[in-house]
């Protein structure tokens, strides 16, 4: 399955959920397919999508919060898996597009070919950690995580076939933040889960 195909499976399933995107082709693919106000695009800052998503999830327990992460990002911040597992927000869904390379910088090899990240997540303490590699498996796995208690982890194995002509995010960082905060809105009193 191409990375693009994984995004094409997932994005139509999104409603108004906030989605924190890791840098590189994760941002670019998602932006190109469907720009959403509730998308936070982390345009640099490799490794931190998971901690940003965790912060959102902890402070908005009334919202299902999704992280679109990459293998390089997860490997850089494996400790954040421990923070997510220890704080255990039920409303967090952590999706990792694993192409086993640093694709946006020229497809240099990452370590995820040797390190099964879904097992790392499970060992860290995520109650659910799934791995899929076929296109038709993406939707049922995502829906299982969205309908259950998290934190949930989904590793999607994809081929490293990113089209370098895919555009970059055109919003300024401040615009990205303002749109994201507006889309999140304020938590209604008494909505703690």
């Amino acid at each position: 399955m191409k990375g693009t195909e994984a995004f094409q499976e997932l994005i139509p399933l999104l409603k108004d959920q906030p989605v924190v995107h890791a840098n590189g082709y994760i941002c670019r693919e998602s932006f190109q397919l469907q720009d959403r106000e509730a998308n936070f695009y982390m345009i640099g800052l490799m490794g931190l999508a998971s901690s940003i998503g965790l912060g959102v999830a902890l402070c908005r327990p009334d919202k299902k919060v999704i992280i679109f992460d990459g293998d390089g990002n997860v490997l850089m911040s494996m400790g954040t898996l421990a923070m997510i597992a220890a704080t255990a927000p039920k409303n967090l869904v952590h999706i990792v597009f694993d192409n086993q390379v640093y694709e946006s910088t020229g497809s240099q090899r990452s370590l995820s070919g040797s390190v099964p990240l879904e097992e790392v997540a499970r060992s860290s303490g995520y109650p659910v950690a799934l791995k899929v590699s076929k296109k038709e498996e993406v939707k049922p796995a995502f829906e299982k995580l969205m309908n259950g208690d998290g934190p949930g982890f989904l590793l999607i194995k994809v081929d490293p076939v990113f089209d370098p002509k895919t555009g970059r995010v055109t919003h300024t960082p401040e615009e990205i933040k303002t749109r994201f905060m507006n889309a999140l809105g304020r938590r209604e009193e008494g909505s703690r889960n």
């Binding site: 931190l48 999508a49 901690s51 912060g55 999830a57 402070c59 994201f180 905060m181």
Partner: protein, 165 residues
């Protein structure tokens, strides 16, 4: 010396309601008080840059975050401060212990202690050195900066807060 409990009370009175960090003995009193404060989370972070990310998410989700850390973690955070807080305009109050201040500390703290202020200045991170006398004023200054959606750092020398370890 400032009372850690009194300062934590001042922070929560100002609306700060989300705390995370990586410990330092100089901040041990503050963290100990935070762990006992009801309704306000203190999340132990694995590394300082992960705490910066956590604070950014918390802010965008409507909370007012505080990051407690030793200055030895500043190097890890520079990319996060510059590529997240400063360009997206995401504020965070950083309470940073100033180990190695004046060159009188363990060897691992000497160089960072010397360049601590220069690094903050070079990155464009506004800061103040907190003292028992100025603490209310610098906290007001921090709040003004945060209202402008920018981060602010309070540098804490040894002996400013009571320690608990």
């Amino acid at each position: 010396m400032l009372s850690s409990q009194n300062f934590v009370d001042q922070l929560t009175d100002k609306g700060f309601n989300f705390f995370t960090g990586v410990p330092c003995s100089l901040l041990s009193g503050l963290i100990s008080c935070l762990e006992k404060t009801p309704d306000v989370p203190y999340i132990p972070a694995v590394r300082e840059d992960a705490a910066v990310g956590l604070c950014a998410g918390a802010y965008m989700a409507g909370s007012l975050p505080v990051l407690l850390m030793q200055n030895s973690g500043l190097g890890y955070c520079l990319n996060a401060f510059t590529s997240l807080n400063l360009i997206y305009k995401i504020p965070t109050l950083v309470i940073m212990s100033w180990r190695g201040c004046g060159g009188n500390d363990a060897p691992e703290h000497i160089i960072m202690g010397k360049i601590n202020e220069d690094l903050l200045k070079a990155a464009g991170m506004d800061y103040a050195v907190i003292t028992p006398e100025n603490h209310r004023d610098v906290l007001e200054r921090a709040v003004r900066k945060i209202n402008e959606e920018l981060p602010f750092t309070l540098l804490v020398k040894k002996g400013i807060f009571d320690e608990r370890h």
